[in-house]
């Protein structure tokens, strides 16, 4: 029996070492996450339960329930995020489809155009929209001089301006994953559908679209989550009429020096975001099962 177990201990040790080395590679990232994410978030969580007198309190949370304005801020945040996500899907999905169908060389050039905004500062892009959209801005000036409309359209300092700016900034986050999942769809699936009698429209909705949904869900979720915490664009283009949670957090700190209230808002936003992620992952699984069932 002894002969059959040759080198057993040594081989097991080798396996352990291999796993340890692999773990070693991820340790810088783990340390970083601990330092810049887990500790600050934990600190915020703690702060949200401390009142102005330095004692434990729930007043920061009670205020959110009792004051209507807080409810409105959360409602606005979700409405803006949902609208932005929906517009990104309506604009981004067809564009991603176009990119996935043209030859790779053309697609690469177009992709540069899609990604170009990524290389420009967020602030610059937001102020650029301000220049374009304001009542004496480029769009209104041209529209009036071309006789398309007569009074300056209210394109900025409102929900419209906020949405225009946010959709523009979020679009690449939707297009990239959708494009990725479309490129991964074997062209033979659509050919097979056509061969079996599906018109181009039915082949698209019956085969291509369902196979592209993983990318669509991933992209939409990313856009939605990013929108929930967005600050710069709504602050500049909303003109104080579109107040989102992030802006309330800033004003709590900068105007009222109330770290506790700001932290509580952050915690609630974080909890809601996690809840949405969890719900979405549940729904996606259900959807996959339903998709396989029919």
């Amino acid at each position: 029996m002894q002969a059959l177990r040759t080198n057993e201990a040594g081989l097991r040790q080798d396996g352990r070492m291999e796993r340890l080395r692999l773990f070693g590679l991820s340790s810088p990232a783990l340390v970083l996450i601990l330092v810049i994410l887990v500790i600050p978030v934990g600190w915020l969580f703690y702060l949200s339960f401390v009142g102005s007198d330095g004692h434990f309190t729930l007043e920061n949370y009670a205020r959110m329930v009792s004051q209507r304005s807080y409810f409105r801020i959360f409602a606005t945040t979700f409405r803006v995020s949902i609208l932005t996500t929906a517009l990104c899907i309506v604009i981004g999905y067809p564009l991603a489809y176009f990119l996935s169908q043209v030859p790779t060389r053309v697609a690469n050039i177009c992709m540069i155009a899609v990604l170009l905004p990524f290389w420009t500062s967020l602030l610059v892009r937001t102020y650029a929209w301000l220049v374009l959209l304001q009542s004496r801005g480029l769009i209104n000036t041209w529209g009036i001089s071309l006789g398309l409309w007569h009074e300056p359209l209210p394109l900025v300092y409102n929900l419209t301006g906020t949405l225009i700016g946010m959709v523009h900034i979020m679009l690449p986050f939707l297009i990239l994953p959708v494009y990725g999942s479309m490129k991964a769809i074997d062209g033979n699936y659509v050919k097979a559908a056509a061969n079996l009698g599906a018109s181009p429209r039915r082949a698209f909705w019956g085969v291509f679209f369902p196979l592209s949904t993983p990318g669509l869900f991933a992209g939409a979720l990313m856009v939605f989550i990013l929108c929930l915490g967005f600050f710069v664009t709504p602050a500049v283009l909303g003109g104080g009429k579109v107040i989102m949670v992030s802006m309330k957090i800033v004003s709590n700190i900068q105007l009222f020096f109330s770290w506790g209230a700001a932290s509580a808002l952050g915690v609630v936003l974080l909890v809601l975001t996690v809840a949405i992620l969890w719900l979405a992952s549940r729904l996606l699984k259900l959807d996959q099962i339903a998709g396989r069932g029919h």
Partner: protein, 362 residues
């Protein structure tokens, strides 16, 4: 399956040309597939056989030409209106549908009532010996099962023409051999006109009524497997089908000589100026008692002998330097009686196995 409700359709291809820039994928191809026939397009990769199949299916638009299913011109008909079954090389089963969802898809598109869909799907699955697999997911199937589902999906709507693009290439050899026989039986049972694409000559010889050998966008020869093997029309076909030795011969009128020695042969040689002698390795035999009367004898030196399980392969070098291969059954042969490397041997070719072909490539 209701096999004979709808008659099989003949296919007629006339003058089809397809170019990709300067490359001719198909050069003025004409081909007739008889109704109910199993015809194989056989050729090396890049020969144009798949392009021709894609033209039949409607996925490739040719530059010019005519394509008729029966009497109907379909060259400009989009793929979804051609009503033909097709299996793809990698099966192309929809991963977001079950087995039954896949097989029922063409029926759903044709607005067949639900109960009838369920019934016909199950019948099609039984035809390919996968009865009861309807609820499985595609990723739960083995390669052979996927192949069967793809087949069921392509025949469930009873198309009168079935196209198959290298359907067995992804399977292992044992399963492939078994599926070849099964596909052929299925074809005989359902009776639809079948066009099959493969680069595997053995597969083509096993399954087909007729084989079209395709090379460089043209059909080199269209013949039954037996004619193709025994009477290849040209050097390319002879070379592509089977492993042959080719020896240069000289012609003067009806007389043909190799290395100055006149050859005896039973079939008249083709009318070409340049001829080549084709020797199949299983046609030439080893003589232990010297040259034989009335046959063609070659003296050679054995260069190596390879044992291959069911047979042995003897490579020899003729006196003029050309190489020749001989294959014999290994069973019952005393391998010790085979020549050793370097031995002088006499190889004998009977007149009926002495096949003279056109030496040109096309």
């Amino acid at each position: 399956m209701r096999a004979n409700d709808r008659e099989a359709l003949p296919i007629s291809v006339r003058g089809v040309t397809k170019t990709y820039g300067p490359v001719h994928a198909l050069k003025d191809v004409s081909l007739d597939v008889r109704s109910g026939e199993f015809l194989t397009l056989l050729g090396p990769s890049g020969s144009g056989k798949t392009t021709l199949l894609m033209v039949l299916a409607g996925f490739t638009r040719p530059d010019c030409g005519s394509l008729k299913f029966g009497d109907e011109e379909v060259i400009r008909t989009p793929p979804h209106l051609r009503d033909l079954g097709m299996t793809f090389q990698n099966y192309a089963l929809f991963p977001h549908m079950t087995v039954a969802g896949n097989v029922g898809y063409p029926l759903k598109l044709r607005r067949v009532p639900r109960p009838e869909i369920a019934q016909r799907v199950e019948a099609a699955l039984e035809t390919v010996q996968l009865g009861g697999y309807g609820a499985r997911r595609i990723d739960q199937l083995s390669g052979g099962q996927k192949q069967r589902v793809a087949l069921a999906r392509s025949i469930v709507f009873e198309p009168r023409i079935l196209l198959m693009d290298e359907p067995l290439s992804a399977l292992d050899k044992k399963l492939r051999d078994q599926m070849q026989i099964e596909l052929r039986h299925l074809h005989d049972k359902l009776g639809m006109t079948t066009v099959y694409v493969t680069h595997d000559q053995r597969e083509a010889l096993t399954m087909s009524d007729r084989i079209a050998v395709v090379n460089q966008g043209r059909i080199m020869q269209l013949a039954t497997p037996r004619d193709l093997y025994e009477r290849p029309a040209n050097r390319f076909v002879a070379d592509f089908i089977g492993d042959s030795t080719f020896l240069p011969v000289t012609r003067s009128g009806q007389a043909v000589a190799f290395n100055g020695t006149p050859l005896v042969f039973s079939a008249p040689p083709p009318a070409a100026a340049e001829l080549t002698l084709m020797i199949r390795p299983e046609h030439i035999v080893l003589s232990h008692d010297g040259p034989r009367e009335g046959a063609n004898n070659f003296s050679a030196t054995a260069s190596d002998i390879v044992y291959q399980g069911d047979s042995y392969l003897l490579n020899a070098r003729l006196d003029d330097g050309s190489r020749i291969a001989l294959r014999g059954g290994a069973r019952g042969v005393n391998l010790m009686a085979l020549p050793a490397v370097g031995d002088r041997v006499t190889l004998v070719l009977a007149p009926e196995d002495t096949i003279l072909i056109d030496a040109s490539e096309a």
